[in-house]
Amino acid sequence: MKTGYRLFSLFCWACALLPVAGVFGLVVFLLKQGWGGLGLELFFGDTPPLDAIFRFAPVWDGIWPACFGTLAVTGLAALTAIPLGLFCGIYLNEFPRGRLSGILDFCVNLLAGMPSIIMGLFGFALILFLRHTLVPDAGTGLLLSGFCMGLLVLPYMIKSTQASLGGLPEDLRLMGTGLGFSKSQTIRHILLPSAGRGIMSGVVLSIGRAAEDTAVIMLTGAVANAGLPRGLFDNYEALPFFIYTVAAEYQSPEELQHGFGAALVLLTMTMGLFLAAHGLHHAMEKRWKRG
């Protein structure tokens, strides 16, 4: 029996080493391959950076358009998901209505588990539908992607709002009632500010998720070469999609290097957002754990 336990111990240690090796291996590999290409040329190619950013000068050889596209989609997704998610989360946590809340909760869980390609398919179906009925020349674009992406990250926003409000000590609500506040006043003036950091953490998490997803944008407007989008209904480039196309069909070592560079940029972005969300969540817990 002793050998059994020893084998188990070895197994656990071996398993524990795998993620360590994996993560470090991944980061080191990306750095090794992409380090050389990091720099302003990665983003802007031959175009001077300031022109590219402020005067929308076309960039031929850099990932700036992809970065811009990602920023735009993420921004639109945030605009959709944050208010919607915030209010829905408040509703679910503070105004439970028995059966209805149960159904809504199930819907949120369903949305949370939905494969992102389905979201993209939904967007695509929406365009098909519009083409056949109201708007014959409807096409995919930034707005559609933003909307679908917003739906994708909505559950994250709802759940983190719910969790933050739910984690507040009961005394706060009693305090509100004691002061003569109505329910919505308690929420607005006491609960939301107190849960602020947790909610912010949810916001950051949602943004991170929106920035990295590829499947949704693939079906709703991201393309390999579009330059900067002129309007909300234009196709656009995006970082994750760029990374995918490089892996699928790169044609030159420079392009490959750009791919590695883009991967590094995206990874840094999502890791940074993750750490920020984690830090905010931690700060919130620290504040209320003593209660």
Binding site: Y5, F8, S9, F11, C12, W13, A14, C15, A16, P19, V20, G22, V23, L26, F29, L30, P83, L84, F87, C88, I90, Y91, F95, I103, L104, C107, V108, N109, L110, L111, G113, P115, I117, I118, L121, F122, F129, L151, L154, S182, K183, S184, I187, R188, E212, D213, T214, A215, M218, L219, P240, I243, Y244, A247, A248, A263, L266, T270, M271, H278
Partner: protein, 290 residues
């Protein structure tokens, strides 16, 4: 005066909350409705039989999606097979088999892994895993079932570990001090007390991991080869439903091809619903016990 103004603001807030809830519910409904609407042509038995075949050759009239369904299932199950034992090992390490300092760091690292975009995993897979397989087995291009399974396993590992961890945390506090005082080793405690009592958590982790693997698009798309066939071996190519949707949308084709997309979408939607129902069922009896 302030009171009434604030009251009005209050009722606006209530309205905002209620409407947001309504919109969310409506969104889920809308997704389902759109999928159903575009899948309506499936109700024709002839079309249905065309789609439920094993032959996908759109230019020759073959629109069978069954290879993709099989592909998704095989891939998800194999990823689960790889990821689950490793997750158990990691969780046990974090709960007594390893020293407490490194154990805490390990959990933080696993949590951190969730921040890596799947497209980056796919990208690294294309340039590290695929050539590795190509060299090691000297058959095929390296884009195969095995490559995608490994990639997916890495992707779902944190999901499973964190689910198991939260399950262990339910049992550990009661049991750890008692078992230690009795003279049990951490291995005995984990193998004979913690894990046998975590059946529900294990089931939930399996279901969650399976759902996550089934729903991913980028790793199957980038690593599995995308041949619309049922693979004969681990080194052969396959196509998942998610990848199928991404590929077919990109090519302008006839309407039966598009229909296959919605058929796949419907299947994926249904399986997500089943996964969720399963998780709900697993959760409920625990509340009764308490």
């Amino acid at each position: 005066m302030y009171r009434t103004a604030d009251r009005r603001a209050g009722s606006l807030w209530l309205l905002a909350c209620r409407s947001s809830a309504a919109v969310t519910g409506a969104a889920v409904l809308a997704i389902l409705l759109f999928l159903l609407w575009f899948s309506l042509p499936l109700l024709d038995a002839d079309t249905l039989s065309k789609l439920l075949s094993w032959d996908w050759r759109p230019f020759h009239g073959g629109f069978g999606i069954l290879p993709m369904v099989a592909g998704s299932l095989l891939l998800s199950l194999s990823a689960l097979l790889l990821a689950f034992p490793v997750s158990v090992g990691i969780c046990c390490f974090a709960h007594g088999m390893g020293p407490s300092g490194p154990a805490a760091c390990l959990l933080r690292l696993v949590k951190f892994m969730t921040s890596v975009p799947t497209v980056v995993y796919g990208f690294v897979g294309v340039f590290v895993l695929v050539p590795l397989l190509r060299e090691a087995f000297r058959s095929g291009s390296g884009f195969c079932w095995l490559a995608a399974a490994v990639g997916l396993a890495v992707l779902i590992l944190p999901t499973i570990v964190l689910m198991l961890h939260s399950q262990f945390m339910l049992i550990e506090p009661q049991v750890k001090l008692t078992a230690t005082a009795l003279g049990m080793s951490p291995a005995q405690r984990l193998l004979h007390l913690v894990m046998p009592n975590s059946g529900r958590g294990f089931a939930a982790a399996l279901v969650l991991g399976f759902g996550r693997a089934l729903g991913d698009t980028m790793i199957p798309l980038m690593l599995a080869g995308n041949a619309p066939q049922v693979p004969g071996s681990l080194l052969e190519s396959l196509r998942a439903m998610t990848a199928h949707i991404a590929l077919v949308v990109a090519t302008d084709s006839q309407s039966l091809a598009y229909l296959s997309l919605f058929a796949c979408g419907l299947i994926l939607f249904l399986s997500t619903t089943l996964v969720n129902l399963g998780l709900q069922l697993l959760k409920r009896p625990e509340e009764d016990k308490g």
